[in-house]
């Protein structure tokens, strides 16, 4: 009797202690929203998808498009047909095979699901034709140079058509994709748990049995969790903690300049609040820009971890216009420009989101601009209100940023064209429109670069947005992790990441 009991106990303990489980715990700054690539809109959601859902194409750290589920692609001469060859032998987490029909169903869902947030991203696709079991042709209404970059993000994430059909808009409760990890559970505001998908086409490159994403908004607490061993890595370390992490032998530090930017959007044409000298006379905006020392700003607020910038693309981007470098601070020139416009001093109200970091940025700007004669008044508001005021035109200038897109078009077109969807300054210049419209339809990179450069030269004078800096994505990792590669889109790609043996 005792022997049986002992045997049962032993068998039980063998069951509860799995052999060397490799579990990875990642601390996120926020909780993700709906876990449906077609419906979601948060940055952290995309971090989760990177492990959960494969895309048609992916990017390199240098932002080149590379194969993922599509192995090869080609454009027709008129730029209106994109032919994609698909990877064979791929299955979704529910066993549904991945093929051309699945791609067609996915693109159509992105276009037609009433709740879809991807509509504008796949707008240029007129229809998808299945031209083979593993080949699709996307027919476009007009040439669209940005499409591949869109397909390297949520619009290109492939979900199981069987699961999507069954769940409809409730897909998020149990998302089924084809990524290296599959969905296990989600406790809102607490954790999202994924486990290894053994049938993934590239399963050998993924080394964890389980990946948990834990939203911990407070940066200090997030770091404390990493130090206490409750996390293995975290995203968006506060720049002010960078020195401490670098000095800690138990931790690793990783950073890369992001494709996003932060700047000051000026109301130049959005309703009555634009009717003031700062909105109407570009020379005042130039004076304001000349009063700012972007390097000092970066040093003071971000301990030098970010990248100063004066364009929608960071200085290390191939799209950066080197002919328009970051202007050096020049108070005398700023004062001279102000004098030209008939002002010794100028009162300016800038709205800013009421978080400590953005407030500090603006306080530094405020102090710098004061030396040129600007009396900057900060209007600190909570972000939702800031956005509403900005969109309604009820502001003079507003400190706001953009998380950035892989294709350069995503960082500039919708802000700078007359009918741009998020052009809150309502800047409108037909010449700029012409250049930016042309740049988004050409598949020739040199031509595009020339067009962006030409637009840049106009925009650097008109300054509807005064770009300040490009945030860096900063990660802190436990020292026992190896193989992590920082990407400028801020995603965490777990391919070849593992614990040191």
């Amino acid at each position: 009797m005792h022997k049986i009991l002992l045997a049962a106990l032993l068998a039980g303990s063998a069951l509860v202690s799995p052999a060397l489980a490799a579990d990875l715990r990642i601390g996120l700054q926020d909780d993700a929203d709906v876990l449906d690539p077609d419906q979601s809109r948060t940055f952290v959601g995309r971090i989760v998808y990177t492990s959960l859902c494969d895309k048609l194409v992916d990017i390199t750290p240098e932002l080149k498009i590379i194969p993922q589920l599509a192995t090869a692609w080609s454009w027709s001469d008129d730029g209106k047909t994109l032919t994609m060859d698909l990877r064979e032998g791929v299955v979704f987490h529910d066993g549904t095979p991945f093929d051309a029909e699945a791609v067609k169903a996915n693109i159509e869902r992105s276009k037609n699901l009433p709740e879809s947030r991807r509509k504008s991203e796949v707008k240029s696709i007129d229809s998808v034709a299945v031209t083979g079991a593993y080949q699709v042709k996307m027919m476009l209404a007009n040439p669209d140079a940005t499409l591949l970059a869109q397909l390297a993000d949520r619009a290109g994430m492939m979900i199981s058509p069987t699961a999507a059909e069954a769940a409809g808009a409730d897909f998020a409760a149990n998302p089924v994709c084809s990524g290296p990890y599959k969905f296990v559970e989600r406790v809102q505001q607490d954790r999202i748990v994924l486990e290894k998908f053994a049938d993934h086409w590239n399963a050998d490159a993924f080394h964890f049995d389980k990946v948990s994403f834990l939203p911990i908004p407070d940066t200090t607490v997030r770091l404390a969790n990493l130090r206490a061993g409750d996390l293995d890595m975290l995203e968006r370390l506060a720049a002010t903690d960078a020195a401490a992490v670098k000095a800690d032998a138990g931790l690793q530090y990783a950073e890369t300049v992001s494709i996003g930017y932060q700047g000051i959007t000026v109301n130049v044409n959005n309703g009555d609040r634009a009717k003031n000298p700062f909105g109407e006379d570009a020379r005042l905006r130039q004076a304001f820009e000349l009063s700012i020392d972007r390097d000092a700003l970066n040093q003071v607020v971000f301990e030098g971890a970010f990248a100063p910038g004066n364009q929608p693309f960071p200085p290390n981007s191939p799209w950066y216009d080197k002919d328009v470098p970051i202007p050096a601070r020049d108070i005398e020139k700023a004062k001279a420009l102000m004098k030209e416009t008939g002002h010794e001093t100028f009162d300016l109200e800038v709205q800013v989101a009421n978080n400590p970091v953005q407030t500090q940025v603006l306080q530094v700007v405020q102090a710098m601009a004061a030396e040129a004669g600007f009396n900057v008044k900060l209007k600190s508001t909570e972000f939702a209100s800031l956005l509403a005021e900005q969109s309604a035109g009820n502001y003079q200038a507003s400190q706001v940023g953009w998380s950035g897109r892989v294709d350069p078009d995503g960082n500039i077109h919708q802000f700078m064209t007359c009918k741009g969807g998020i052009n809150d300054s309502k800047y409108c210049n037909p010449e700029v429109d012409k250049l930016l419209d042309a740049a988004r339809t050409s598949n020739n990179e040199e031509e595009r670069k020339a067009e962006y450069d030409a637009a840049r030269k106009i925009l650097a004078k008109d300054l509807p947005i005064i770009y300040l800096y490009h945030p860096s994505w900063i990660w802190a990792l436990d020292d026992k992790l190896e193989g992590f590669v920082p990407y400028p889109d801020g995603m965490i790609r777990l391919e070849n990441v593992k614990f040191r043996s």
Partner: protein
């Protein structure tokens, strides 16, 4: 007694209706457009229009309220604008977490606050009294978020005794649940303990001067029995009242504590919902919290009967 409870519950109905109107109108006064927040960074006009349509944001506020009330009365609190999960389910998930935190905090507050209050009343004017008062004053003055972060740094990072944050249900892993909750409960409990200590002290001081305490002493009753049986039992009444009031404070404190320790409870739910303008969640949570406070006050009133027989005769 039963009729009293029924009467009290009847009064609760108009209170809850008033609360629902307040919540609904007040959050409409919040600046910022929920559709704009929900639409994400791209602010696609089609998406904004869809959201306005789906959540009746285009309708006049009265109609919106009617839609909501109608659904609530049918037991449907709507779905979260952010994650598409049903609000009632969310509340059902989060409420037990906060109740666990609150109960543990109350226990800690009582264990520390009441004996400290009795002791400092009995030893009035001595060193013990002064020390207890200084500790209580520091407990009241030290902000939760500071104490929380300091404890995390000390206990989790430096000593490695407890997890720095997170949550586990007691039904899944009781030990880990206790480990994750003890620090936040302590942070939340200590500030309450301070209030409790000061009230216990003053209530005890009042009672200690009463005739019946003097009589008990004159009869030769042991000092400990005088304090516990004669004095403390009579001092308990204001403490019970206070505890009910403290429950509201506890919910408020839980908001902050849950934020620091990343506990997926009620408080974190409402803070996140306010910032993302997740109206349905804010409304549901506030309504439930109001119902909770009303219920706790009712329980406190019922406890009066049990603690003090004199009140029973006045009804």
């Amino acid at each position: 007694m039963l009729s009293y409870i029924v009467r009290r519950l009847a009064i609760a109905v108009p209170t809850l209706i008033l609360v629902s109107i307040f919540v609904f109108t007040l959050q409409k006064l919040l600046p910022g457009d929920p559709a704009l927040v929900m639409a994400g960074e791209d602010r696609d006009p089609a998406a904004i229009a869809f959201i306005r349509e789906k959540y009746h944001l285009n309708e006049p506020i009265l109609i919106q309220y009617a839609y909501w009330m109608k659904a609530v009365l049918q037991g449907d609190m709507g779905i979260s604008l952010r994650t598409n999960q049903p609000v009632l389910g969310l509340i059902g998930d989060k409420l037990p977490v906060t109740i666990q935190l609150a109960l543990m905090a109350i226990v800690i507050a009582f264990v520390i606050g009441v004996p400290a209050g009795i002791l400092s009343a009995v030893k009035k004017g001595t060193m013990i009294d002064y020390v207890a008062n200084i500790v209580a004053l520091s407990g009241l003055s030290v902000p939760n978020f500071w104490l929380g972060i300091m404890l995390i740094l000390l206990v989790s990072v430096n000593l490695g005794w407890l997890p720095a944050s997170g949550y586990e249900s007691p039904f899944v892993d009781p030990l880990r649940s206790l480990k994750t909750m003890i620090m936040p409960a302590f942070v939340l409990g200590t500030s309450l303990a301070a209030t409790l200590m000061r009230h216990t002290r003053s209530a005890m001081l009042g009672v200690m001067k009463a005739d019946y305490v003097r009589t008990a002493r004159a009869k030769g009753v042991r000092e400990l029995a005088v304090i516990i049986k004669h004095a403390f039992r009579n001092a308990l009444l204001p403490i019970v009242t206070l505890s009910a009031l403290l429950f509201g404070e506890l919910l408020g404190g839980a908001v902050l504590t849950e934020q620091i320790f990343t506990i997926p409870g009620f408080g974190k739910l409402i803070v996140d919902a306010v910032f993302t303008r997740d109206y349905a969640v804010v409304q549901g949570v506030v309504l439930c919290a109001a119902a909770g406070v009303i219920l706790i006050n009712l329980v406190a009133d019922v406890l009066y009967f049990l603690v003090n027989p004199r009140i029973r005769s006045t009804l």
